[in-house]
Amino acid sequence: MTAPGLHHPAVSPGLWTLAWRRLRADRVAMAALGVVCLFLLAVVLSATGLVAADWEDEVAVNYAPPTFVGRDPALAALAQPPAPAPPNAFDPLAGDLAVLKARLARQGQAHHAARRATLPFGADKWGHDVVRKTIKGGQTSIVVGLVAAFVAVALGTLFGALSGFYGGRVDDFFNWFYSVFTAIPSILMILTVAAVLQTRGVATIVLILGLTGWTGPYRLIRAEYIKHKAREYVLAADAIGASSRRKMFVHIFPNVSHVALVQVSILVVGFIKAEVILSFLGFGVPVGVVSWGSMLNEAQNELILGKWWQLTAAATAMALLVTAFSLFADALRDALDPKLK
């Protein structure tokens, strides 16, 4: 639109650029972002199998203590390969066993000999490395939290957009739906859906959390759409004949997406906590999948035996991530919505 020859004014920074500048100035936020990125990196590495893919290997003796504690004399004996049992002349399976043993030996599976007495952060009941298990468990918990948060915010945004944009009966319907969902406390809703769905699985938890968590984003996004639909740029889009769908999602959505992003970051924290509780109770991840919740479940019994390392590893990893994520979410909200401060 600028006439040729005129000096081009510097492009004024947009919402995201400004927010990023504000965020960069906040040292706590950047440190938190760094920690979150480290966790996400661990998730990616673990999901692609580069790290912790072998967490199920029984690399140490059962309950091997952390290296800095020192080996447990009672358990160290187990690290030695067990003495072969005296031959039993009446063993009907002796022939079969000999064949199996020979095959194992050919494949180089010296299983017992490799078991270690200590590990950097100890081992669990089966001799799994706790560090690798924590990384693998983190993958489950973080992926569930992230995906469920996106599902919940997507639902909330869709409902909020329809409700705020169309108003009238559509708005009444969604408001009624919202009041129904908020009348049931979220934890009860989660347990009810868990009871009904029966199947245990990662997809089920994502579904449960996503389907029950849309109410918060819905309320905020609806308010944004009510505000924006009367703005001039939407009226202009209307004047050139843009369809309702186009106005809602191409014109308005980019202008309210920061609200959705902040909601995602807030929900991730809550959903990671919820996943841990669900998995702890046994309504979450299936047997054979490890998550921080299932680790805490095992750790509860281990603690009575004095084996504190699995509890410490899972609890510390989770507290670190959730602290960093909450601090980052707070900073993100302040950066994207400076008025709110």
Binding site: A183, A195, V276, L281, W292, L296, L303, M318
Partner: protein
């Protein structure tokens, strides 16, 4: 006033109807057929047909919905599938233990939250304030499971200060012997988020004109904060506490489970584990109703606290 209450109750009807339909759809369509679960492994066709007839599952959906509505209205959900105990009896007997833990917990949590929030707001912006807020964020990030496991192990199992778990017959015994540790853990978990929230309520008030006026006329800061600010900050605090009460009934399920307290929350967990649908249905519907009633009560309490509020 009466007209206002009546109208609010009238407005609850569509929401309540929605809750009933939602629960009905969840359990009757999404949940699948419970007959095989009830009939056991060696069921013949006659037994299955018999159970279906008893549950009304062979009737069309509107008859089933009618049965459900009648169950809600008459407080008669039949017997629990797992134990055969009447559901109404389950709810009635489990409410006491839950409240024995929850009432002291809520009172203490609110009192401590208010006191700390005012104290922190008193030194707002200082290093103490910021350190307390960071401590709150860290405290909130630790899973409630970790608090329970560590406190139960440390204070009860190792140090023997409290019973590890259990529940008795007498109210005073329960309150003084078995409830203190769950209440303590509940406080440890809830003080951080409560303090953060209440602090923001208080900070919304300290910038108001009336605070400046009070200062200008020479009132001591302590009186301004504890009398003037507190009365105004009480409105959002009441909303928060009241709106959370019904949810707390369920929210304490982890405490009840770990400490063997026979409360509502533990009953819900057991019911989910056993797929005992009547219990879950009943609790969901009644807790939803309680949530709505408590929201109304919160609005009524506003007027008592703040005469400016007009209930129209």
């Amino acid at each position: 006033m009466t007209a206002y209450i009546l109208r609010r109750l009238w407005q609850m009807l569509p929401t309540m109807a929605g809750v009933v339909v939602l629960v009905f759809v969840l359990f009757n369509w999404v949940g699948g057929d419970p007959t095989y679960l009830l009939a056991g492994k060696m069921a013949d066709a006659r037994a299955i047909a018999n159970i279906r007839a008893q549950l009304g599952l062979d009737a069309p959906w509107y008859v089933q919905l009618g049965i459900f509505v009648k169950q809600i209205a008459t407080f008669d959900f039949g017997n629990a599938w797992a134990t055969g105990e009447p559901v109404s009896h389950i709810i009635a007997t489990r409410l006491g233990p839950s409240l024995t833990v929850l009432v002291p917990l809520t009172v203490l949590e609110t009192a401590i939250g208010i006191a700390l929030a005012l104290a922190v707001a008193f030194v707002r912006g200082s290093l103490t304030d910021r350190l307390v807020m960071v401590a709150c964020t860290v405290g909130m990030s630790i899973s409630i499971l970790v608090y329970i496991i560590v406190f139960q192990y440390g204070l009860a199992y190792r140090l023997g200060l409290f019973p590890v778990q259990g529940w008795g017959e007498h109210f005073t015994e329960n309150l003084l012997r078995y409830a203190p540790l769950p209440i303590l853990i509940g406080l440890a978990v809830s003080v951080a988020p409560t303090l953060r929230l209440f602090r923001s309520f208080v900070l919304d008030e300290v910038g108001q004109d009336y605070v400046r006026t009070a200062r200008a006329k020479g009132l001591p800061e302590r009186r301004i904060v504890w009398v003037h600010v507190l009365r105004n900050a009480a409105i959002p605090i009441i909303t928060y506490v009241m709106a959370n009460l019904p949810a707390l009934l369920i929210g304490a399920f982890l405490l009840e489970r770990f400490f063997g307290i026979p409360g509502i929350g533990r009953e819900v967990i057991l019911a989910v584990e056993r797929s005992d649908f009547p219990v879950i249905k009943a609790v969901t519907v009644y807790v939803a109703a309680a949530t709505m009633v408590f929201n109304l009560l919160a609005d009524l309490m506003y007027q008592a606290v703040d005469p400016r509020v007009q209930l129209a």
